[in-house]
Structure formats: C-alpha cells, structure tokens
C-alpha cells in the first residue's frame, strides 16, 4: 500500500505515529518520517491514521495495483 504525506500540511501532531507506529515515526522533535510503502498488514491501522490526521495530510492509495506498475518498460 502506497502512501504519501503532504508535509506542507502536516503539523507534526503525531496522531499517525500513535495509531500506526510501524508506518509513521517522529524524527527529531517535530519532523515526520514515514514508510512510503506500507505492508498490507498495516491496512487497518493506516486507514485509522489517515482518518485521524487533523489536517488530512495523509493520502493512501485508492487503487490496488495499477497495470503500469507491473509492466511497460518499452
């Protein structure tokens, strides 16, 4: 599962790190460091974290495996 955090928006509230610690962690006092690709096992927690983010900065894949992800290296 791919994700990206809009770090312009992120205010470092760390709710995500609390809800999905395998995916999000604070790095220093207020910088967020996250895994851009989370294990499928994290799906539930990731959804919770994305929903809980007070500034809605977390974007999680809406598509499972786009076809171009696997092929097309002409």
């Amino acid at each position: 599962m791919r994700l990206v955090v809009d770090l312009n928006r992120c205010q470092g509230y760390a709710q995500c790190a609390f809800l999905a610690p395998e995916v999000f962690a604070m790095h220093g006092e207020e910088a967020l460091l996250y895994h851009p690709e989370a294990d499928a096992a994290q799906r539930e927690k990731l959804a919770q974290a994305a929903a809980a983010c007070p500034v809605q900065a977390i974007l999680v894949d809406a598509v499972d495996a786009p076809p171009e992800a696997v092929s097309d290296e002409r």
């Binding site: 599962m1 791919r2 994700l3 990206v4 809009d6 770090l7 312009n8 992120c10 205010q11 470092g12 790095h27 220093g28 006092e29 207020e30 910088a31 460091l33 996250y34 895994h35 851009p36 690709e37 974007l59 999680v60 894949d61 809406a62 598509v63 786009p66 171009e68 992800a69 097309d72 290296e73 002409r74």
Partner: protein, 463 residues
C-alpha cells in the same frame, strides 16, 4: 471553445497528452478524470518507472527506512491512461498538434500538458563527472545507486553544494555514522533560499553533527585513481580532501531542450505560462491548448509583484497540476488562477525546516518567535515594508499564521506584540542574501523577471 460545443466534445472524446510522468503529471491526470474527462489520456515519461515521489530519495531512502523502489506515488483513482514509459518526448509540432517521441511515434493531442520538471545539474567536467563514485541525486535510480555505495561503508562522502538536497544528504550520512565533508561556495548552507542569518544556524547544526563543513570555497577538481574511481577533491583554498564518494548537489536544469525550435516560450529558465498555466509562445502570445505545471513552469504571481516565479517545490507541482487540469477543461470564464502561496519543507539533522512565501525576496529578517541560538524559531522576511516570507525551525505550527500575513500583504515589521520573543528577535536585521548574480547551488525559488520568452540567463557553476 465559445459555447459551440467543442469543449463538450473535448471532455467526451478529446485527446489529452501529458509529457512528464511524475508528480505533476500524475496529479493532473487524476484531476482530469475527476473532472469528468472521458477521452483518451496518454502519459509520456522518459523514466521507466511509474510516477514516484522524490522527497524520500534524500531522506527515508538514504536513512534506510525504505528503498528507492518503494517510493511510487499513491493513486487517487484509476486513470485509464495509455502509458508510454521509458520513452522521451523529443519534439513538438504546435501547428499540427503532435508530440514526437524518441521511438519515432507521434502522438496527436487536443490539449497538451508539459510537466517535464528538472534534472540534476551534473559536475561540469564530463571526464571527472564520469569517475566511479561520483553521483547526483534526482531520480529513483540515482538514489538506489548512492544508497548501495553508502552501504559499502565509504570512508568519507564529499558533498558539493549545501542547498537543501546537499544538506539532507550530509545529514543522512552523519546519521549513518559516515564521515562527511560539505563544500559550499557561499558563506553558509541554505543561503540561496533562506539568507545568511538562517544559513549561519544551518552551519552550526551541520558542524554540531560532525560535518566537516567548508564554506566560501569552490571545488576546483575531482581526482580519480588508475582504476577510474574518485579518490580526492581539490578545493580553491589549496586543500585536498580524500574521499571515495562525491555527491554533486549543484541545483537543477530545466528539461526544456526537447522544445527547442517548437516556437514555445521555453528555455533554460523553464516554460513561461500565465497564471492559468497556459504556455506562452516565443512571441509572448498565450496558447490555448498547451499547459505547463510543476518544476519546469514559471508563472506570474499576483502576491509577488506579478514576477515570474519558478518553484522547485512539491506542493507547487501538486497545486499547479490541479489548476492546469481544471483549466484545460474549462470555458475561459471558469478558469482559475494558480495563486498557491509557495511552501516547502526539509528535514535535516533532526530539525524540521519549513517555509512559506518567498524568503529569497526578503531583504530583512525578524526573529518573531523562539531564538536562533536554540535553533527553534520563526524568522519573518520583509520586503519593501511588507511580510514576504517566513521560515520555521522546529516551529512549524506557527506558519499558517505567517502565511496569512503574507496573503494579506501585512506590514513588516509586524505591528503586533510578538509572543515568546527573545532578545535576538526584537528588531529586523539584514537577511543577508548573497548577490543573486552569483548563484550558489541554486535556490529553490527563482525570480525571473517579466518577459515570457526570456532566454537570457547566465549561470556560473560553483566549481
């Protein structure tokens, strides 16, 4: 497009081609579909990979939190596009409305979005740039190659240029326990983007984390051994640094060469477009079928004196792509201007650095909150009596407030009593930006005057 139904036809069965399949290209394509575009969509990208995110390449990837091949961007929706990946666009025929591809194909379009971004400026001497162990960092492949080399446990990494990317690389290396030397032509790191007052704080941060930081020096040569591996860097102060890895972080070059001779207002400064993302041709006339977004674009911003701004910022690519997509499908009265207030972030040496507005336009800086010595502060930039930008070191939550001041062209220095003010913040001081005619590693915002087809640009590489 004047209510004669042609816009309706475009939405139903038109052909839209996006050149540059990265952040801006992907977000534009998603927006087109969200807005009901049902025609054919072609994504042309010269990299073999599906769109991926670049900021992690100098952060999470180098730190080993993830790998370069796990940075693909999440999708907001299905695109139903034809992907031409690993194929560069090599030419544009504006009259026939066709894009030429490197494999000889030609793709016709009704609307074209150009989002070809920038590439890393290479070390200017090709024989030295080709030495084994010399890297740049812009792409997924660059990041993978550099990470592999870092995993081999180099004795030292030598970074040329202390802009954001160079500083983040140095930070990641230190965190991994690797010895690092950083050489910067200016007096301090980050000065092109944030000025000398904040640059001095960045310099202290680097030194405190064990970086061997050398400022106000130029790298004069890279030296290889008999096997063609880099072994040392020579500096203008006469010193030599032995190293097995060199990372060249001298800023970026805009990917516009493929448009040469097309008649589009594209050059080394990027592609000029209006606030609605429509590209100018070289005559200064705006086109109605060619749009531009992301790092390759430069567009006039009403908040900043309508100067053309080139912004190498993630948030700009996303916002401009969405505006371009919206406008491609809209009647002229429904078009929106790209009025995003510039913003970016960086994290290095454990500090969260964020900025809004255009600090590099500022002449003065006021430390409005916190203090420089604690390295936790907000610095506010003033230009001609108004607030023009702000930067926060571990103080990000305050930035929306300063963004509001910038948007409302609030006076500088701000008249209200400032909270949490320390002695070093009581009065504005010179922000200490270097002479702009002497570029360093390349700031992340470039002001480029007014002429849409301005091709005059001189760059003196920092070597």
């Amino acid at each position: 497009m004047n209510g004669d139904g042609s816009l309706e036809r475009l939405r139903r069965e038109g052909r839209i081609v996006v050149v540059g399949a990265s952040l801006a290209g992907l977000r534009a394509a998603e927006t087109l579909r969200e807005k009901g575009f049902a025609g054919s969509l072609t994504m042309v990208g010269d990299e073999p990979h599906e769109p991926y995110d670049r900021p992690p390449l100098s952060k999470q990837v180098l730190l080993g939190v993830t790998t370069a091949d796990r940075t693909a961007l999440p999708r907001r929706r299905d695109l139903d596009a034809t992907w031409r990946l690993g194929v560069a666009a090599t030419g544009l025929d504006m009259a026939a409305r066709r894009v030429r591809l490197a494999d000889g194909d030609e793709v016709p379009y009704d609307r074209l979005l150009i989002a070809t971004g920038v590439r890393a400026r290479p070390w200017p001497r090709p024989d030295e740039a080709e030495l084994d162990g010399v890297f740049v960092l812009r792409t997924r492949d660059d990041s993978a190659a550099l990470t592999r080399r870092l995993a081999d446990g180099p004795r030292r990494v030598f970074v040329i240029g202390a802009g954001f990317t160079g500083s983040e690389i140095a930070s990641a290396c230190r965190e991994r326990g690797i010895a690092v030397t950083v050489a910067e032509r200016a007096a301090a790191p980050l000065v092109g983007a944030l000025g000398g007052v904040v640059g001095a704080v960045a310099a202290e941060l680097q030194r405190e984390h064990g970086v061997d930081l050398r400022c106000a020096v130029m790298v004069t040569a890279l030296e290889g051994d008999a096997a063609g591996r880099v072994r040392a860097a020579h500096l203008s102060d006469g010193s030599t640094v032995e190293t097995d890895v060199v990372v060249v972080s001298l800023g970026a070059t805009r990917n516009t060469e493929w448009l040469a001779g097309s008649g589009l207002g594209a050059g080394p400064r990027g592609i000029a477009c209006d606030a609605g993302c429509r590209a100018f041709d070289i005559r200064g006339i705006v086109t109605d079928d060619i749009y531009v977004a992301g790092d390759v674009a430069r567009s006039p911003h009403p908040l900043f004196g309508y100067q053309f701004l080139s912004l190498e910022h993630w948030g700009n690519a996303v916002c401009q792509a969405e505006i371009a997509a919206h406008n491609m499908l809209s009647e002229s009265a429904d078009r929106l201007p790209h009025m995003w207030v510039p913003a970016f972030w960086s994290s290095q040496f454990g500090v969260n650095i964020k900025s809004v507005g255009v600090p590099s336009m500022g002449t003065e800086i006021l430390v409005a909150q916190g203090s420089l010595t604690d390295r936790r502060f907000v610095g506010v930039y003033g230009y001609q009596g108004r607030v023009i930008g702000a930067v926060a070191f571990d103080h990000a939550r305050w930035l929306p407030f300063y963004q509001h001041l910038i948007e409302t062209t609030a006076p500088f220095p701000p008249p209200f009593p400032l909270v949490d003010r320390r002695p070093d913040g009581q009065r504005p001081i010179d922000a200490d930006f270097p002479d702009p005619s002497l570029p360093t590693h390349g700031p992340t915002v470039t002001l480029s005057g007014y002429s849409p087809a301005d091709r005059r640009m001189t760059f003196t590489p920092a070597h």
